[in-house]
Subunit: 299 residues, 2 copies
């Protein structure tokens, strides 16, 4: 549906809103059937401003769709053992079907140890190595797929963009986005290349892609002439750059030079309003799925 | 070191032999220090001829380097529970530091369930989803890397072929070879593309690679004009094709058309005598590493 000189803008905000709505409907049904609602625990340690903002948004979204949010706020001075104890208490709490530990944790804490302690049945962020292992292996299904990568796939699906047989290039190889989204595209029969900071001539590789997922954390890195005409470009980057014309003094930009790339691409997500809202929608969806699975087991 | 018209042949048999020798040396030292030797359990269910051959080779290699081999041979009629009980007994046996369950298992057995039951500390095949998860995730180290992929990496290393910054194409995406070798190349800073049966124009993608790992199980699929001059080609394929000129009536060929490709490539592994011997060498190495880790813990 690309017009000459203009990519179709993928409205992540709208798609996320529709997902929220359908989750809210399902939760109403669940409540009628089981007389209980899904519960999501959001655990935050310390007072990083960005983490607090994310956590606030997640808790607010829970409230809106009818998920009961359990707030655990620990001080930055909390010991590893105190955090571990908090996680174990959440594991044991039958009202909770999803546990999210907001990252990063303070430096004195072994992040891997905390994440491994989360019950795999409640790992709605999908970062438990057992979930990642099952995502990697053919013929296995993870209980949960990580939220941001799942959101990228959902945006492609909702926009009618086929994945099977396509060339996909993922820019960035983080545990949270790049690597899992590459695995998910491969699982859906795309031919996937992962480009990273050690890649020579990334533009030549990106130019071959039918689907580009930009998750490098490099503001405006991907230019118009890096993109094959008609390609679908999903921009996961959220970088703040100085902008004296704004009251705040900064604005958010993606990893993609939106103004240039939208003239070449067939589809493109804006920043903000593209992938961002989908991450929370997928978190709610994972929590709902988890609750449905657990409620069914309880009969 | 490629000469015009001739790739350097990577001698997997010789490299494997050197590894066997150094493992044997280390085991002698271990024996002196701890008065015990590594133990590897090789469990086979049923009487598939190919599986029996592999198991016999593995047990023989153990004997040669001084690893004590524990043979568990169950009939094809063994129930899932019987196999599970056998695995649990091996988990509990302090003389055993490595457990290998020869695949495939009979159809009536849930393979995933059996593999998950192997103690992760003894999973020398590296196929436990927790090991694969840690292989996938940045900043994590699996206890064991799968043997055949590890053998491919070792062949590149021993041949002085740099991986970082290179374009690598893996042909095939199996749990046993394609996917883990792609992850290992990415972890070593190659830019990796996975090509598979749904890829369009695989030859165009393969032609861009500095390193090709062929693991598709398609006899002689990769032709001379698919290869960039000077590329390193590692052939994991082991396919038997009819050959009336042989007494047996067949011969083994790889996924690579060796005669054509050796004229173009810089490095190439033969079949047999390339990757094959390395798989067993890496199994012995994983078993030795496991034993060293466990003996150290025991003090």
């Amino acid at each position: 549906m690309a017009e000459s000189g203009g990519a179709q803008i993928i409205d992540g905000k709208l798609i996320a809103k529709q997902i929220h709505w359908s989750i809210a409907q399902e939760i109403t049904t669940l409540k009628e059937r089981h007389d209980k609602v899904p519960g999501l625990a959001v655990l935050i340690v310390g007072e990083r401003k960005d983490s607090q903002t994310y956590v606030r948004m997640k808790r607010k979204a829970c409230a809106e769709v009818g998920i009961k949010s359990f707030d655990v706020d620990l001080p930055a001075t909390a010991t590893e053992e105190e955090i571990l104890d908090a996680v174990l208490a959440l594991n044991a709490n039958p009202e909770i079907q999803g546990i999210l530990v907001q990252l990063p944790l303070p430096k004195h804490v072994n992040e891997q140890k905390i994440l491994l302690a989360i019950s795999i049945e409640k790992d709605v962020d999908g970062f438990h190595p057992l979930n990642i292992g099952n995502l990697t292996m053919k013929g296995r299904e993870p209980l949960f797929s990580p939220c941001t990568p799942k959101g990228c796939i959902e945006l492609l699906k909702e926009s009618g963009i086929a994945i099977a047989g396509k060339r996909a290039v993922v820019v960035g190889r983080s545990n949270i986005v790049g690597m899992p989204v590459a695995l998910m595209l491969n699982n859906r029969d795309a031919t996937v290349t992962i480009v990273h900071s050690r890649t020579k001539n990334p533009e030549a590789i990106i130019r071959e892609a039918d689907i580009v997922i930009a998750a490098a954390g490099q503001p405006l890195m991907i230019k118009g002439d890096w993109i094959k005409p008609g390609a679908a470009v999903i921009d996961v980057g959220t970088n703040s750059v100085d902008d004296p014309s704004k009251k705040s003094g900064y604005r958010l930009v993606g990893d993609v030079d939106f103004e240039e790339v939208k003239k070449v691409a067939g589809f493109i997500t804006p920043v903000p309003g593209g992938v961002g809202p989908m991450t929370i929608a997928m978190l709610l969806q994972n929590t709902l799925e988890s609750a449905k699975r657990m409620f069914a087991l309880e009969g």
